[in-house]
C-alpha cells in the first residue's frame, strides 16, 4: 500500500479511538465545551484528509457526523440517541478503515442509512434550537417553575438539561466571534493536530518488527556481556577489566533504552474501554461506570497487545456477571451505579493489572455445583475444597455458571484462554471475591519477555532449562527423614516436611532413560498453588537465557515452552512447568488441607469417588473415601506415647490421639506405623493401619451386608470384597475420650501481679505444653476468659481474694491458687471459693502436677 495511505490509516485509527472515548466522556459531561470542541476538531481533520485522498464514503460519513457535532457545539440538545448514532457512525468508519487497510481502497457499499439518520438528527436539532431560542426570549427576566408530569420518553431531555444547555450556549454575537476564531485556527490546526497529541511530539514511526529485532539483538548482547564478565572475573588479566567495565555500562544503558522504546503507557490499550462499558451498560440495562487508574504505567508494547484482550474479557465478565441490576443493587443497599475499577502499577519487575468490581461477588456454591456437573471432581472432593481452590475452576475451559448465555459472555470459552495466554508469558492470576461485595482479579505479568532466569538441569544425559519462576526449592533425593519416597498407586510421592508432593521422573517422562531415585535431585515446582517435584540427575546452574519459541511443527509438545542457545552454542529445550504438571496426570488429592472428616459424605450408589484401600488386621481389606483423609503419615513407633490406655503422638505442635483401625489389628511394635490422619473440628485424629494397598477410582456400589458398627457396607474393589468404613463411627469415638488429652494444648490463664514471678512461671507453664496467657490484674480476667475460654486459672491468692477472683469468672472454671505461704486462712478462703488446689508459688513440680491432674479431671468429666 502506498505510504501516504498507510500513514493515513495508522493516524486515523488512532484518532478514531480518541474520538470514541472522548464521545463517551462527553455524553457523561454534556456541558463540557472543551471535549466537544476537541471531538469536532478531530472529526473535521479526518474529513479533510478523506477528501484530499479521494475517499468518498469516509468523507460523506465524517461530514454528516461533523454536522451533528457542530449542532451540539451550537447548543443543540445532547441526547443519548444522538450520541449512539454518532458512535454507530464511528463504527462504520472503523469498518471502512479496516477494509481500506486490507485492500487499499474503500469497499463498495452505501452509508445512506446512517447519513440520512444523521441528517434527520441535524434537522431535528435545528428545530429544537428554534423552539429553545423562542422559550429563551420569553423567559428572560423571570423563571417560571415548570414540571413535567410524566416520565421522559426516550430521546427527550429533561427541562433541567434543557435549561443547562441553554445557559451554556453562547448567544449569537459570541457565536459569530468564536466561529471567526475557529476559522483562523482551523488552517494551522489541521497540520498541527498530529504534533498536538501529548505523547507524540517529534516522533517518527518505526515498524514494530524492527524494534523487536533490536530487542532480541540487545538481549543476546546482554548475555554475551554476562559471559565475558564471568570469564574476566576468573581471568586475572587486568587489561580487559576497564574496557569490559565500560562495555558493561554501555550495554546496560542500551538495554534500558531499547526497552523504553517499546514501552507504552498502558492507558493506550484502554482507550476503547469507556465506549465498551457504555455499550454494555445499555445492552444489559445496568448502570455501570469504569474507573481507570495508573494508565501512565509503562508496559512493553508486545505485552500490551497480549493483555488487551484478556482485560477486555474480564471487564465484560465483571459487567455481565459481577455488577447487579439497578434493582438488585438498590435492594442490597448499594448505589445504583456499579463501578468497575481498572488499575495498573509497577511492582518489583512486574506489572500488576487489577480489575475490581463492586458487584455481587462470585457465588462459590454455584461454582461448586457447576464443577461437579462438569465432572471436574466428585461432590465430596469439591465440597471439601476451600473457596480459594474452588475459584480456580472459574478458569476451566467451558466453565460458566451463567444461566443465560449472552453474546457478551457466558459461553464459557473465555477465562481458560485468558489464563493460558497470561501464563504463557510468565504471568499469574489472583482472584479474590466476597459474596455481595465484589470481585477482584489481579494479573501479574513480568516486565520483559525475552530474557528469563532458568535452572539448568541434566536428565537422561540431556540438558534442559526450567524457568526459575516456577521453582520453589531443590531437594536431594535419598533416604533421609526429611525427604522420602512413597509409592501410592504407582505414583511416586515425596514426603517433604509432612507434605506429600507427587514427583515426576523427568528422564522417564521424556522417554530418554530414567533418573536414579537414590542419587538424583528433585526440583520442587509450583504451578497454580499445586506443588510437584521433578526428578533429575543433576543440577548444573542458574542462567539467564534468551527464550526462543519452538517451531510450529513442535508446538504440540506441551512439556516444552521454548528453546534457547547457551553460551557454548549448544541448544537446549526449555521445560514448561504447566506441561510437566499435565504429564503428571490426574493426581489423587492426597492432601486436603481443609477437609473436615465430620462433614457428611453422601455415599449414594453410583457416585464416582476415589477410595483409599488398605489393610488393617486380618480379614477383608478396608476402604475410606480419599477426600476425607487429610494426610497419610508414617510415624516412628518410638514417638508414640501412651497416656493411660490411649496412644498419642505429638503431631504438628499438638497432641494427636491414635486409634487402631480395627480391634483385631496389632499396632506396630517397632519401625514405623502407618497412620491415616483426619481432621475433626479442626483437630487432627489418627487412625493406625497396617499398610496401604491402593487408591481406587470406583463407581461406588455398596452392599449393605456386612454392615456393622464402624462399617457401612461392602463393595468390590479390584475383585476383592472390601469393607467401606464409616468414618463417623471413628472420629467422635476418638474425640470423646480425653477431650483434653487430644486437644492441642490446655489453656491456662495466669494472674500474677509480680513481674518477676510472672516471668518465672510463664515459661515453666509453656514448657509443660500449656497454652498460657499471663495477666497482671484481675480486671483483665474477664476479657481473657470470654475470648479464650481457659481450662484453668492460676491465681496469686495472696495478692487477690479468691472470692473476688471467683466472681470474675464465668461458670465454674477450674482455679488453682498460688501463695508463698499456705496459711490456714488462705487455704480456707480458697476452699470457700471453690478453688481446686493451692500450691506454693515456688513449687514448680507441684503446680504442674496439680494442673495436669485438673486438666485430666476435666477431660474425664466431659
Amino acid at each position: 500500500m502506498d505510504d501516504l495511505l498507510r500513514d493515513f490509516v495508522n493516524e486515523t485509527n488512532e484518532t478514531i479511538e480518541v474520538v470514541d472515548s472522548e464521545l463517551v466522556r462527553f455524553e457523561q459531561d454534556p456541558n463540557n465545551a472543551q471535549i466537544l470542541a476537541q471531538v469536532f476538531r478531530l472529526v473535521h481533520t479526518i474529513k479533510g484528509t478523506c477528501g484530499f485522498l479521494g475517499l468518498p464514503r469516509l468523507e460523506a460519513l465524517t461530514h454528516a457526523a461533523e454536522s451533528v457535532i457542530g449542532r451540539f457545539r451550537d447548543g443543540a440538545v445532547v441526547t443519548r440517541d444522538a450520541v449512539s448514532l454518532i458512535l454507530e457512525t464511528i463504527d462504520r468508519i472503523k469498518l471502512i478503515m479496516a477494509a481500506l487497510d486490507q485492500a487499499s481502497a474503500e469497499p463498495e457499499g452505501s452509508d445512506d442509512d446512517l447519513i440520512s439518520q444523521l441528517d434527520d438528527l441535524e434537522m431535528d436539532d435545528c428545530a429544537a434550537d428554534a423552539t429553545q431560542s423562542g422559550v429563551g426570549e420569553v423567559a428572560v427576566g423571570s423563571l417560571t417553575y415548570q414540571v413535567l408530569e410524566r416520565a421522559l420518553k426516550p430521546g427527550e431531555a429533561s427541562l433541567d438539561e434543557l435549561e443547562e444547555a441553554f445557559r451554556s450556549t453562547e448567544g449569537p454575537e459570541e457565536k459569530a466571534r468564536r466561529e471567526a476564531e475557529l476559522a483562523r485556527a482551523a488552517a494551522p490546526e489541521q497540520t498541527a493536530a498530529p504534533v498536538e497529541r501529548n505523547h507524540r511530539k517529534h516522533a517518527i514511526r518505526v515498524p514494530v518488527e524492527r524494534l523487536d529485532h533490536l530487542m532480541t539483538m540487545v538481549s543476546e548482547l546482554v548475555l554475551t556481556r554476562n559471559q565475558l564478565m564471568d570469564i574476566a572475573r576468573q581471568d586475572s588479566n587486568m587489561r580487559f577489566r576497564a574496557p569490559l567495565q565500560r562495555l558493561s555500562q554501555v550495554t546496560a544503558e542500551l538495554q534500558d533504552s531499547v526497552m523504553q522504546t517499546r514501552m507504552q503507557p498502558i492507558g493506550n490499550g484502554w482507550t476503547a474501554l469507556p465506549r465498551i462499558v457504555r455499550d454494555l451498560s445499555l445492552e444489559l440495562d445496568k448502570d455501570i461506570e469504569i474507573d481507570m487508574q495508573g494508565g501512565e504505567t509503562g508496559i512493553d508494547r508486545q505485552l500490551l497487545e497480549l493483555i488487551k484482550d484478556p482485560i477486555m474479557h474480564m471487564i465484560r465478565n465483571a459487567a455481565d456477571h459481577g455488577i447487579e441490576s439497578r434493582e438488585e443493587r438498590a435492594a442490597a443497599g448499594k448505589s445504583e451505579r456499579g463501578r468497575i475499577t481498572l488499575s495498573a502499577e509497577q511492582k518489583s519487575g512486574h506489572i500488576v493489572v487489577s480489575i475490581a468490581d463492586d458487584g455481587r461477588g462470585i457465588d462459590f456454591d454455584a461454582v461448586r455445583l457447576k464443577a461437579v456437573s462438569l465432572g471436574l471432581g466428585t461432590a465430596a472432593d469439591i465440597a471439601a475444597m476451600s473457596d480459594a481452590k474452588v475459584a480456580q475452576f472459574v478458569f476451566h475451559p467451558g466453565f460458566s455458571t451463567a444461566k443465560v448465555v449472552t453474546n457478551i459472555s457466558g459461553r464459557g470459552v473465555g477465562m481458560d484462554v485468558v489464563r493460558t495466554n497470561i501464563e504463557q508469558i510468565g504471568g499469574s492470576f489472583d482472584l479474590n471475591s466476597q459474596a455481595g461485595k465484589g470481585t477482584r482479579i489481579d494479573v501479574r505479568i513480568p516486565l520483559t519477555l525475552a530474557i528469563a532466569s532458568a535452572l539448568i538441569v541434566r536428565a537422561g544425559s540431556e540438558t534442559f532449562a526450567l524457568p526459575q519462576s516456577a521453582v520453589l526449592e531443590l531437594v536431594r533425593a535419598g533416604a533421609k527423614e526429611e525427604a522420602r519416597f512413597d509409592h501410592v498407586n504407582g505414583i511416586r510421592m515425596l514426603r517433604l516436611r509432612e507434605r506429600l508432593v507427587p514427583v515426576l521422573n523427568l528422564a522417564e517422562n521424556l522417554s530418554i532413560g530414567m533418573s536414579d531415585e537414590a542419587s538424583g535431585f528433585i526440583v520442587i515446582c509450583q504451578v497454580n498453588h499445586i506443588r510437584f517435584g521433578v526428578m533429575v540427575d543433576a543440577i548444573l546452574e542458574t542462567e539467564e537465557v534468551v527464550v526462543k519459541p519452538v517451531s510450529q511443527q513442535l508446538q504440540g509438545l506441551s512439556v516444552f515452552s521454548g528453546v534457547t542457545i547457551m553460551g557454548d552454542g549448544s541448544v537446549i529445550m526449555i521445560l514448561d512447568p504447566n506441561g510437566l504438571l499435565l504429564a503428571l496426570g490426574q493426581m489423587p488429592e492426597a492432601h486436603n488441607d481443609n477437609a473436615d472428616a465430620h462433614e457428611a459424605v453422601t455415599l449414594s450408589n453410583g457416585t464416582r469417588m476415589s477410595l483409599l484401600v488398605f489393610k488393617a488386621g486380618p480379614g477383608a481389606p478396608k476402604a475410606l473415601p480419599l477426600a476425607l483423609i487429610n494426610r497419610l503419615e508414617d510415624i516412628a513407633v518410638d514417638r508414640i506415647e501412651k497416656v493411660g490406655a490411649t496412644s498419642v503422638v505429638q503431631y504438628r505442635g499438638g497432641v494427636m490421639e491414635l486409634k487402631p483401625c480395627s480391634t483385631d489389628m496389632l499396632p506396630r511394635a517397632e519401625g514405623r506405623q502407618p497412620v491415616l490422619v483426619f481432621t475433626q473440628s479442626g483437630r487432627p485424629v489418627g487412625v493406625m493401619i497396617d499398610s496401604i494397598i491402593d487408591i481406587a477410582d470406583v463407581d461406588l456400589v455398596l452392599s449393605p451386608e456386612g454392615a456393622r458398627a464402624g462399617v457401612l457396607g461392602t463393595t468390590i474393589i479390584n475383585d476383592r470384597t472390601t469393607d467401606l468404613l464409616d468414618l463417623a463411627a471413628y472420629v467422635p469415638d476418638a474425640g470423646s475420650i480425653g477431650n483434653t488429652v487430644v486437644r492441642a494444648k490446655p489453656r491456662v490463664l495466669l494472674v500474677e501481679p509480680n513481674d518477676m514471678l510472672r516471668g518465672i512461671l510463664l515459661p515453666v507453664l509453656q514448657a509443660a505444653q500449656f497454652d498460657v496467657v499471663a495477666v497482671a490484674q484481675p480486671k483483665d480476667i474477664r476479657h481473657y476468659t470470654t475470648s479464650t475460654h481457659p481450662d484453668c486459672i492460676v491465681v496469686n491468692i495472696e495478692k487477690f481474694d479468691p472470692a473476688d477472683i471467683r466472681q470474675e469468672l464465668p461458670g465454674n472454671v477450674c482455679c488453682v491458687g498460688t501463695a508463698s505461704r499456705a496459711s490456714a486462712a488462705v487455704l480456707e478462703k480458697a476452699r470457700h471459693a471453690n478453688f481446686a488446689d493451692v500450691v506454693a508459688v515456688f513449687d514448680r513440680e507441684g503446680l504442674l502436677k496439680t494442673l495436669n491432674a485438673q486438666v485430666e479431671r476435666l477431660g474425664e468429666a466431659a
Binding site: S511, V550, S551, Q552, L554, V563, I565, M573
Partner: protein, 157 residues
C-alpha cells in the same frame, strides 16, 4: 517479485539430492540454503521424523530426517556422516533443515521431461511427490515442501 519469465525459470530450477539411491529435487525458490551440521539437540517426545535442533549461526533450525519422512529406514549414523547435508527451508517464520544423504546438482530439466507421478509412487509417497522428470540415468522426483512439512506435522499427531 520477478517477472513471469524468470519465475518460470526459477520453478524449473531444482536443487537435487539423494536419499538412499533415489534422486529428488526441490524448487530452488523454496530453499534458503544448504548447510552442514553437527551436534543436534534431541527433542524428546517429538515424532520420529524430527532429528533434533541445530544452532545455525544463532538461528535455531528444526532438523527433519528426509529418510523418515519418505518412510525409508534410517541408516546407522545417518545423521552425521560425511556427505549428509541439510537443506534449509523457511516456513511461517520458522527455520527447518531437511537432512539428506548427499547433494546432487542444480538442474533445470526440460519441460518435456516432466510427467505426472506414476501410480506406484503415489502409493508410497502420497502427495509428497509433485511430479517426476525423466533423466538419462533415472528419474528425478520433484517433492513438495508443504507436503513434507505437513507430513511431519501429521506424524507428530
Amino acid at each position: 517479485m520477478t517477472d513471469t519469465g524468470s519465475a518460470r525459470d526459477d520453478d524449473r530450477q531444482f536443487v537435487t539430492f539423494y536419499v538412499g539411491s533415489d534422486h529428488f529435487g526441490l524448487p530452488i525458490s523454496s530453499i534458503r540454503d544448504v548447510f552442514t551440521f553437527h551436534h543436534l539437540t534431541r527433542v524428546p517426545l517429538a515424532s520420529g521424523s524430527v532429528a533434533g535442533l541445530f544452532n545455525l549461526r544463532g538461528r535455531i533450525v528444526t532438523m527433519l530426517s528426509m529418510r523418515a519422512l519418505l518412510g525409508q529406514p534410517e541408516t546407522q549414523g545417518q545423521v552425521e556422516n560425511e556427505t549428509s547435508r541439510a537443506i534449509g527451508i523457511d516456513l511461517d517464520g520458522d527455520s527447518y533443515g531437511l537432512i539428506v544423504d548427499s547433494m546432487g546438482e542444480v538442474m533445470q530439466p526440460a519441460d518435456a521431461m516432466r510427467e505426472p507421478v506414476p501410480g506406484n509412487l503415489v502409493r508410497t509417497w502420497g502427495d509428497l511427490a509433485a511430479a517426476v522428470y525423466r533423466q538419462p540415468n533415472g528419474l528425478m522426483i520433484e517433492l513438495s515442501v508443504d507436503a513434507l512439512l505437513g507430513k511431519n506435522a501429521r506424524m507428530a499427531a
